[in-house]
Structure formats: C-alpha cells, structure tokens
Amino acid sequence: MLLFSLFTPLARKPRHLWWGEKGNKFGRSLKLRPNFLTGFIVLIIFITISFPPLVLANLLGLSDLDPSKLYGKGYLKNETSIHTHSPHDVTKVKHIFHLELKYTLNNNLKFFTLARIFWDADNDIEDDKDLESWELYMDLRLKDIDLRLGRQQVVWGEADGLRINDIINPQDFKEFILQDYIDSRIPLWMARVDYYIADFTFEGLIIPEFKRNRFPRGGSEWEFYRPSLSPFLQLTREDNKKPAHRFKNWEWGLRVFKFIKGWDLSVSYFYTWDDFPIFHRNLKLFHHSLTLTVELSPRHHRFHVFGFTYNKVVGPLVFRGEGGYYLNKYLSTSDPQDSDGYKKRDYLYYMLGCDYHLFHNMDLNLQFIQKVISHYDRYFSEDNVQSSFTLFIQTDFLHETLKPVLLVIYGANQGDFWISPEVSYDISDKIQVVLGGEFFEGGSRQSFFGQFNSNDQIYCELKYSFDY
C-alpha cells in the first residue's frame, strides 16, 4: 500500500462553470508518477504507526506528560471505485490516514483529538489533499455534570441513515450521502454540558461557530442537478455570506431524556442556522439586450426545531421513532409573483422504525420517513408530503469475520431508489477488505436518487487498523 501511495494514479478532469450545463464526461487517461509530497506524508504516517507513543508525545509537545496515559488508534485505508457502465472509468482513488489520540489525565479529565489526512487523485474536491484536525476536545467530569469543550460532533436522534434531529453539525456532500455520517459530519467548536439529576439527563449545547454544508464543486459527478437556463436568461451569483460572529448568532440547544418503564424517551429544542443556503432572487430586465438577469444571493436563516425520540423493546422487536417540528424554515419558491424567491413555512419531519432480530445473527431494520409541509405552495420545489422507506439487513458468518449488509432507500414520491450492497471480510484483527456497490435507479433527472442514475459504481476498500 505504501508503494501504491507513492505512485498515485492521477486523472485529469475538465473544469466546469459553477452554473450551467454539466458538460460531457471525458475518458480519463491514467498517469503514474512519483509524488514526493505524498511520499513524505506517507513516511510520517509510517513513523507514527511504527514507533511507541512516546514519539507522538514528543511530537505533540506532551513530553512532560505520562505517555502511559496516552492511547492512540487509527487506520490507513484505500477506497477505489469504478463505474459499472462502459467505459468503466475510475471514479475514485482515495487514501485516508485516520488517527485518534486520547490522553486520560485522571478519572475526571480527558483530552481527545482526531485527525484525518486524505488525498484523492480522482475526485472533485477543491484540493487533492486535505489535512484537517477534525476533532479536538476536553472532557471534564464533575459529580453530576459532564462537560465537553472543543471541536466535536454531537449526534441526536434515533433514525439510521437520515438526519431529523441529527442536524447539530453541518454535512459534507462531496460524495453525496455515500459516506458514513461519522465521516461526513463537519465538527464544530462548541460546549456540551450533560447534567444528571434523579433519572433525568439534561444536555445543553452552545455553538459559537457557524459552518455551512459543503457541496461538490462544479463538474463533480455528485453535483446536484440544475436545470439548463434559457439563452435569454443570465445568472449572476453573489458569494455566500456567513452570519457574523456575534453572541446573538450563536446556536444553542437543549435535550432532556429519561428511561421510564422500558421506554427511552427524549424531547429537544434546537435554535439553529440553516446549513443549506436559501437563494434570494433579484430580477433585472435589460431592455436594450432583451435579457433578464437573475441575481442570486445565498443567505442562511435561522429556524427552530422541536424534537422528540422514543424506543421500546417488545420481544425480538425494537420500536424506534423520531420527530422534528421545524418552525420558520425558509423554502425556495419559483412563484413568479414572489419578489425574492423564498417563503417561510413550518414542517413536520418524522420517522417510524422497527428493528427485528430475524434469526441467528441476522438483523432487519425498517424505517418509514415522512415530511409534511404546512400551508403548502404549489411553487415549492418540494412536494407537500414526501415519503420514503429504508430497509437495512445485516448478518455475519465465520465468527463475525464475514459481514454482508444491504441498504435500500426508496423515495415514494418519485419512485427512485438507492441500493447499496456490501460485504466486508476481516482478514485479521488489523486488516479488512470491503467490496460493495452503489446503484441509483428509477425516478427522473430531477429526483433525489434518479439524478445520479449514471453514477452506478462498484468499489473496493482495503483497511489497515492499528492501536497502541
């Protein structure tokens, strides 16, 4: 894998305008050349894996601290995928180095950091290589209070594979929704406080940092569908403006949960910024050229989410549910009589799910999801009621070394769906190989999954894990 990393396959893709037709996909020529920066990074990784924690402690300036209290783990992974349709071009060759370090000073104080380095020779992200300290926080435990300060992810909700109340962190869509959420959630600087009293748990969040969702750049195969423009229409776009760094712009949330007579219950409130921008529209008509210019100004707006979750076990079944009432959410409209292109609405977003243990080591998970917009307007780009279903099946063989899983998500409104089968095999405790596929079918070019109908692919992953 080290040699493979040094001689990284490179593919050249044409650049496209941010707005406009997607353009044609070109056949790719693969070139192999030694990459010294890549090799240097690989060398650092090799040293990190090979030497005891004391080396890392020195590198991180922790040499005065007790290295026996430092625990580290991580992995090296290669992800490669190719299209299933001719000419079977390579869609992704990605190498990831993931490292986690935990320093436990004592029972009440712990430090944690997580860093990921990736380099991708065949993707559309802004840089081929990205080094980012994803998470960095401190855990402080007091008698009835737990405090976590720093850059972190916080996960709310019972739903699997979708985010109803799990909207604390923005998301990276550069690979659509194919990445696990643990990898696609963007950590934020925040304070999380858990307060335990009687059998209740109160969780509070204060988030001074704003980050928007990250989207695939123009020309990426995962770029979301946009309709072509009339030749009489010109489009200009302003830069996306972030909310100013002020106390009044901070996000905050509160969640309360309790276990009562076999039920896990929670209620929550989150006051947040929409991580998706809403495009404020301004139309200008130029008579001399008979052109209409549309000025789009992406803006972020705040809204409220009142949430609840539950779960209950009945025999071999686990019933789960989650709901979020979104208050004052801004929705885009194409109403020609609307001057600015958006309207404020409320909507209910909920999930009803069931986990069923079929038989020996096989689990089935079903979810029904629905979103209902109040005071619906026919010019909204979304349907009034949107429904979808998810099915997840997993099992294992050979003492949990061989694990096949199948995920299917079906959009009932457009009849489009996503099928993702995968098989993983643990060659040893440290080495794992994965084979899988992503298939998008049904619907139309405008539908959520149907727009990626030509992106069907199969993939292979090889992962080496380590710890010390």
Binding site: K73, G74, Y75, F112, D139, R141, D146, Q153, V154, V155, G157, D180, Y181, I182, D194, Y196, T201, F259, G262, D264, N311, V313, G315, P316, L317, V318, R320, D355, H357, H360, N361, D396, L398, H399, E400, T401, D426, S428, D429, K430, Q432, S465, F466, D467
Partner: protein
C-alpha cells in the same frame, strides 16, 4: 436342645441386626446426596460478591490456528431483587481498534419471564442503540460463547437431574444433566460437572438440538478475596473446530459500585 435353640435365636438376631444396619446406612447415604436441582441451586447461590470488576482477554482461534483477540473490561453488580433488579453489567471493549470504545449495558430482572434491558454504544455511530435481549442465543462478539453462556442463566429455566458422580481433578464431582424448558432452545441439553462442597463448575458439555456434542467448556478457578472466580477457560466447538480461550485478570470484588455506574450515562461518558 435349649443351647441349640438359643444359638439359632442369636444367629437370627445378628442377621436381623446386620440387615437393619445396612438399611439405615443406605438410607443415610441417599439422604446425603443432593438432587440435581439442589446441586444447581447450591452453585447458583454460591458467594460471588456484591460487585466485581475484571478484565478479560478473548482469544478466538479458528481450526487453522489463526487468532483474533478481544480485550474487555467488565463491571458487575448484584442487586438480588433490590429496586426490582437481579443484576447489572457493563462491558467496554478495549481492542481491537475496530471495536475499541464499544460499550454494552445489561439490566436483568428476577422475573425470568421479563427480558433483560440492553443497550449498545457504537463509537462508529456516536450513539447508544437499544437492542433486543431476545437474541441470547447469538454469538457474543464472534466467540464460541452465546450471550446466554456469558450471562447468568436462571436455575428455573432448565430441568436438572443428577446422573452420576466422578472424581475430577482429584475432587468429588457431581454430573448434572440440565435440559432447557424452552422449546427450540439452541441446546438440547447440557452436562454440568459441579464440584462437591465448593459448588463451582470446572466443565460443561453442550449438546445441539439433535443431541450431538456441540462444544465443551473447561474452566480454571481460583479464589480472590475468598471468593471463587474464573481464572481462565477454554470453550471449544467440536463441530467447527473453532475455540475461544479467555484469560481473566485483575479481578476485584466488593468495590462499593454505585448505581449510576450502570447507566447510559456511563456509556456516553466512556464512549466518545
């Protein structure tokens, strides 16, 4: 004539006395041998402390000799019916890296008709999942132990019959046949070796639904703080050739664990 008569009377008296003595002694010895049920009750009620912490290293070895390792820390507290609980257990996995940070919480109840409540913390999801305890027949983390093997199966869940005795490792041992009352259970029966007086189990044989030997367990015991506890064990599946060795280390009892240790709070705290 009289002498002859007296001699015959005495002879009969001696014979009667000997018969009486043998009857008495046999009834006494029968009364001293416990029944299969009593043996298992003695085993179940053996002193095991009020709470416990221990580290366990699971070595999973396939028939080709390839080995995988699971390292865990287990904390346990006996409630003995207090607050409506039988016992609570919390386990964290420390290796391999793929499962490090995974936590498992189990609450069990005295009523055997009431399922345990179980939760699993998955670091890859950063959340706690509620799971069904009905899958007690499933393998525990890929080992040769099921969840039921790992847990404290209640005496009343099986029918027990003492079938024989033998000397095992220089100690008198009862062999008890335990047949599950539940139809379709993973085992048709178990043969359990129980050491007389100490009431510990050094050996168990598990038979599949067709009555064939499926696996056997051999346990090494030692005393910690005067309490019998596992030092190690080997569970071998004779049909597949796979085996699981467990090393138990750093066992301590009666640490005064508080109730809040066995809650979802601990799963959240110990996880990321």
């Amino acid at each position: 004539m009289l002498k002859k008569w007296i001699k015959s009377i005495l002879r009969y008296l001696v014979i009667m006395f000997l018969i009486y003595l043998s009857l008495i002694s046999s009834s006494l010895s029968l009364a001293q041998e416990p029944s299969g049920l009593q043996i298992m009750i003695n085993e179940d009620t053996r002193e095991d402390g009020d709470d416990q912490i221990s580290g366990s290293i699971f070595h999973l070895i396939n028939k080709r000799g390839q080995k995988r390792i699971r390292d865990t820390v287990r904390r346990w507290k006996d409630y003995d019916g207090k607050d409506g609980f039988d016992e609570k257990t919390i386990i964290f996995f420390q290796s391999p890296p793929e499962v490090e940070g995974t936590g498992f919480l189990n609450w069990s109840y005295p009523d055997i008709t009431k399922d345990d409540d179980q939760w699993l913390y998955l670091p890859a999801l950063r959340k706690i999942k509620r799971i069904s305890a009905s899958d007690k027949e499933d393998s525990f983390m890929g080992t040769d132990f099921t969840f039921d093997d790992m847990g404290d199966r209640e005496v009343e869940e099986d029918t027990h019959k003492g079938i024989s005795q033998e000397t095992f490792e220089n100690k008198k041992c009862y062999i008890v046949e335990s047949i599950p009352k539940e139809k379709g259970y993973i085992y048709s029966k178990k043969l359990v070796w129980v050491i007389d007086g100490e009431w510990i189990i050094p050996k168990t044989e598990y038979y599949d639904r067709k009555g064939r030997l499926l696996k056997h367990l051999k346990v090494q015991w030692h005393k910690v703080q005067g309490i019998w506890t596992w030092k190690g064990c080997v569970m071998k599946n004779v049909q597949s050739g796979h085996q699981t060795n467990i090393e138990v280390k750093d066992t301590k009892f009666n640490l005064g664990y508080k109730d809040d240790l066995f809650t979802q709070r601990t799963l959240r705290r110990e996880g990321k």
